[in-house]
């Protein structure tokens, strides 16, 4: 089961003089739900289009199930792609759209009809078969685009920001459907998105990209808990990052920030570094024993928690505190102290 589905080897890709992909390599396992995540312009869509054969790389190889497909034209690759715009052909009915790939495979009509009916049932659009794309809602069009691709039984499924054209509530529903479909077909899937929530909720592993370079490939929890660098720490979730130094004091590692706060940490490294403090790991207290004293400058009540914006010296620190029924929300300009949790803070190299 764990044999490699897709292998990217030392991919370099430029548009003119602009390097878009810089020496990217990765292995994606068979049946894995894998995401390319990153801000716009990071090269994630280009990488996906490269796998589909719509871009050509100057260096490197794309290998699917052990076969080098780098030089194959798009129509010989058998990788299914769902486009951001869905790319449903407006002059064809839903059935005609879905049949298209099967007809290209020269299957007989009986087989085609059987498969189309089955996939229409799978995506719950059986009664819409004779309609045209413009008569469907966004979510339905999305399902047709998926059906059109998976019906051809591709080796891998490529999804290019497939949820970005849907409204917020539908997006959550569709990503669950998408995941369920992927699990039931056990289809190796690459999902391109700029939305970390989408990537986190669906993916087995995520490759976080920036500027054409892979920053980290890991499962969602590791990306959050153990970011490889400052970019990852900032991109995934909310982060308070303090710059400073670690030194040993009576056998304890003490982090001293540029602003002068001393925070005990669990770390073997010594010297210049950054400290990542996730907002929910900080506690607000009135106990003067703690070194970080500050003033609440703003607050947002978010239901399950209250987000405080605390000024500590010149720094603003975000603190998320869990809200329970009846607990009181602190007021603006209230003086407080911040307590850090040694086990939850994470030391990063300055890069």
């Amino acid at each position: 089961m764990n044999k490699t589905g897709i292998q990217l080897k030392n991919i370099e890709l430029s548009f003119g003089n602009t390097k878009v992909i810089k020496n990217i390599s990765m292995d994606i396992k068979n049946g894995e739900f894998f995401s390319f995540l990153g801000p716009s312009g990071c090269g994630k869509s280009t990488l996906l289009r490269l796998i589909a054969g719509f871009e050509t790389c100057q260096k490197g190889q794309v290998i699917i199930e052990g076969k080098d497909i780098t030089k194959l034209p798009p129509w010989e690759r058998k990788v299914g792609m769902v486009f951001q715009s869905y790319a449903l052909w407006p002059h064809m009915s839903i059935r005609e759209n879905i049949e298209f790939g099967l007809k290209e495979q020269k299957l007989n009509m009986m087989e085609i009809n059987y498969k189309v009916d089955k996939v229409l049932e799978l995506v719950g659009l059986k009664e819409f078969a004779s309609r045209y794309p413009n008569q469907l809602s966004g979510g339905q069009q999305q399902r047709v685009a998926l059906a059109r691709t998976v019906v051809t039984e591709p080796k891998v499924l490529l999804l290019d920001e497939p949820l970005s054209n849907l409204d917020a509530s539908l997006r959550v529903q569709m990503r669950q459907e998408l995941l369920a479909l992927q699990r039931s077909l056990n289809l190796t899937t690459i999902f391109v998105t700029h939305d970390q929530e989408e990537a986190n909720t669906t993916s087995d592993r995520i490759a976080l990209l920036k500027g054409g370079v892979v920053q980290q490939i890991d499962c969602p929890t590791h990306l959050y808990d153990k970011p490889a660098n400052l970019f990852v720490a900032n991109f995934i979730g909310s982060a308070n990052i303090l710059k400073g130094n670690i030194r040993k004091e009576d056998n304890l590692s003490i982090f001293e920030s540029e602003e002068g706060f001393k925070i005990p940490v669990d770390s073997k490294t010594i010297g210049s570094c950054s400290l990542l403090l996730r907002p929910h790991t900080l506690n607000i207290t009135q106990d003067k024993d703690f070194h970080m004293d500050g003033v609440i400058k703003n607050k947002e009540f978010l239901g399950s928690m209250v987000r405080y914006f605390v000024n500590i010296g010149t720094r603003e620190i975000i603190v998320d505190s869990i809200h329970s029924k009846g607990s009181e929300v602190l007021g603006i300009n209230e003086k407080i102290y911040l307590k850090t949790n040694k086990a939850e803070s994470y030391v990063l190299n300055n890069e």
Binding site: P74, F83, S85, W89, H91, F100, E104, Q105
Partner: protein, 563 residues
């Protein structure tokens, strides 16, 4: 939202409705009415149509008009298709030339170039003289109907080129890529995806060409091809008189055919406006040309350019030629023709400026008012105004003019002149003919102005009228100006309504002057000089219109960046 309809809106609606009724609907109904009335008994009858179809000249004319229109579509398609293919499919440097090919023909009214074309391609024109001297044969480019087809297709192919290119550019590349992704390629992909998606654009252009050619009076008239429908109608009315029903019957045939062609196209294109259903619309994937492909492409593009420029070139040469007859090039060159048209017949130019600007002013007043009523007011039947104004598209200039002659000939002005041949009637006729274009420009401009901008003004205390004057109109300015110059430039060279309605040379505009001059061999030089002036007016107007549109588009972009 305000739900009451103000007195001003009602008044405006009434005035415009009355105008359209008197100057568009009424005259057209008159034409239909006369076509279906027995002259002697004054009863409803189909006899006039029976007469029409039993006269062999009319049957021939009908067939010829149809044949010429269809062949013009074919030839125009042959010119346009490779050009559209090159621009949409390749990274082709020659695309700039192709873009200019899209408007160069349109700045010269076809009838203006028609006579000049004969000097190039006619029986004894430059090309055939050369061919006969060197190879001993001639090609009948300009013989009879061929000439009309040749001149019309060179003039109107941009309609197909522009519409088809627009349709191709509206096809998102993901349409093609998704097909490739599912295993499709090459010609199969073109046939199944690209062709059907581009078809609506092609049909829209082709229908436009068909109708324009079918209705055109000037070109066949100047090429002396009289056995077609429009010239027959003109000749019947001008020689036999406005009581002869045949002219009206032909007019009805022209209108019905135009409407039928539009109807068939509309039916064929029903639900096929793909431009809005595709989300991206970035155009197809373009690839680089190979060396030989580029040679082929440039040959075709430059050859087309030469053909397309030939009327312009021939007209320019003719306007500077002393004598140009039975020779490849003119005997000598002179500026005398320009001197002649400016000193001896300056009224052609001044009249044109007066009529065309009058028509254009009328058009934007009507255009802005109708657009405002349709988009902003709550009057229930407001859309009818839009439909009626737009229906002028299906009414050939000839038909409208016949309608005017019939409707306004019995009315005498205080100075004894007949109302139908008063110059102001021509201005109104020109305005009605061009109203659809001005109206579309104004509607588009007003749609860009968000209601909230007006509401903000009213909220700050400005009255409705003041808001329109201070906010709405200034924001529409670019579109209005573009509408104005388009109306101006095209009204300046309209021939069909003009030659029907103008009765004295002192009232005549350019188009009429060109027509008169071109009748005689000795007047051709002056006619060509007038033609060049007409081309300059239209070209200047087209350029100005383009600039105004660009400017207001940029303005919108800047303001949306600020948001």
């Amino acid at each position: 939202m305000l739900s009451k309809i103000s007195f001003g809106e009602k008044g405006l609606f009434f005035i415009i409705a009355l105008f359209l009724l008197v100057f568009l609907v009424g005259p057209v109904i008159q034409v239909f009415y006369v076509a279906f009335i027995d002259v002697n008994t004054n009863t409803l009858t189909l006899n006039n149509f029976a007469d029409f179809f039993s006269t062999s000249l009319f049957r021939e004319s009908f067939y010829n008009s149809f044949y010429v229109s269809a062949m013009s579509v074919v030839v125009a398609s042959i010119i346009a298709l490779p050009l559209a293919y090159y621009t949409s499919r390749f990274e082709f440097k020659g695309s700039v030339i192709i873009q200019s090919l899209g408007f160069i023909p349109l700045i010269m009214p076809p009838f203006v170039g028609a006579v000049a074309m004969q000097l190039f391609f006619g029986e004894n024109g430059s090309v055939n003289l050369y061919l006969e001297n060197t190879f001993g044969f001639k090609i009948p480019f300009m013989d009879g109907l061929n000439g009309v087809i040749f001149v019309q297709s060179i003039h109107y192919f941009p309609f197909i080129l522009l519409n088809l290119s627009a349709a191709l550019n509206n096809i998102d590349k993901s349409m093609e890529e998704s097909a490739q992704n599912l295993g499709s390629r090459g010609f199969g992909l073109f046939r199944k995806i690209v062709f059907p998606l581009a078809m609506p654009g092609y049909i829209a252009g082709a229908v436009l060409v068909f109708i324009k050619v079918f209705d055109d009076l000037g070109t066949p008239l100047l090429l002396n091809v009289n056995n077609m429908l429009a010239p027959q109608a003109y000749l019947r009315i001008s020689s036999i008189g406005i009581d002869d029903p045949m002219g009206y019957v032909i007019a009805v045939v022209l209108v019905v055919f135009s409407l039928a062609a539009l109807g068939i196209a509309g039916w064929a294109l029903k639900g096929k406006d793909y431009s809005t259903t595709q989300k991206g619309g970035g155009g197809l994937n373009k690839r680089k040309m190979g060396k030989w492909e580029a040679v082929g492409a440039y040959s075709i593009v430059i050859f087309t350019l030469l053909i397309v420029l030939s009327p312009h070139l021939a007209l320019t040469m003719l306007s500077f030629a002393t004598i140009w007859s039975y020779s490849i090039f003119p005997d000598a060159y002179t500026t005398a023709h320009y001197a002649e048209v400016f000193t001896e017949t300056p009224e052609f130019i001044t009249n044109t400026l007066i009529y065309a600007s009058g028509a254009a002013v009328l058009d934007i007043i009507l255009g802005v008012s109708i657009a405002y009523l349709v988009i902003r007011s709550k009057i229930k039947i407001r859309k009818t105004l839009d439909y009626v104004a737009m229906s002028a598209l299906a009414v050939p200039g000839l038909v409208l003019a016949i309608g005017y002659l019939r409707s306004f000939s019995d009315i005498e002005l205080p100075n004894g002149q007949i109302l139908a041949s008063w110059w102001l009637m021509l201005v109104i006729a020109l305005a009605v003919r061009r109203l659809p274009y001005a109206l579309r420009a104004c509607t588009a401009a007003l749609q860009q102005v968000s209601v909230s901008l007006e509401e903000a003004s009213e909220n700050l205390g400005a009255s409705k009228f003041k808001t329109i004057r201070k906010i709405t109109i200034p924001l529409m300015a670019g579109g209005i100006l573009a509408g104005f110059v388009t109306s101006f430039a095209t009204a300046a060279v309209e021939l069909s309504a003009t030659i029907m309605l103008i009765s004295s040379e002192s009232d005549a505009p350019l188009a009429y002057g060109i027509y008169i001059f071109m009748q005689s061999a000795s007047g051709r030089g002056a006619g060509a000089a007038l033609g060049i002036i007409a081309v300059i007016i239209v070209a200047g107007g087209t350029y100005a219109s383009h600039r105004f549109m660009e400017k207001s588009r940029k303005q919108r972009e800047v303001s949306s960046e600020d948001e």
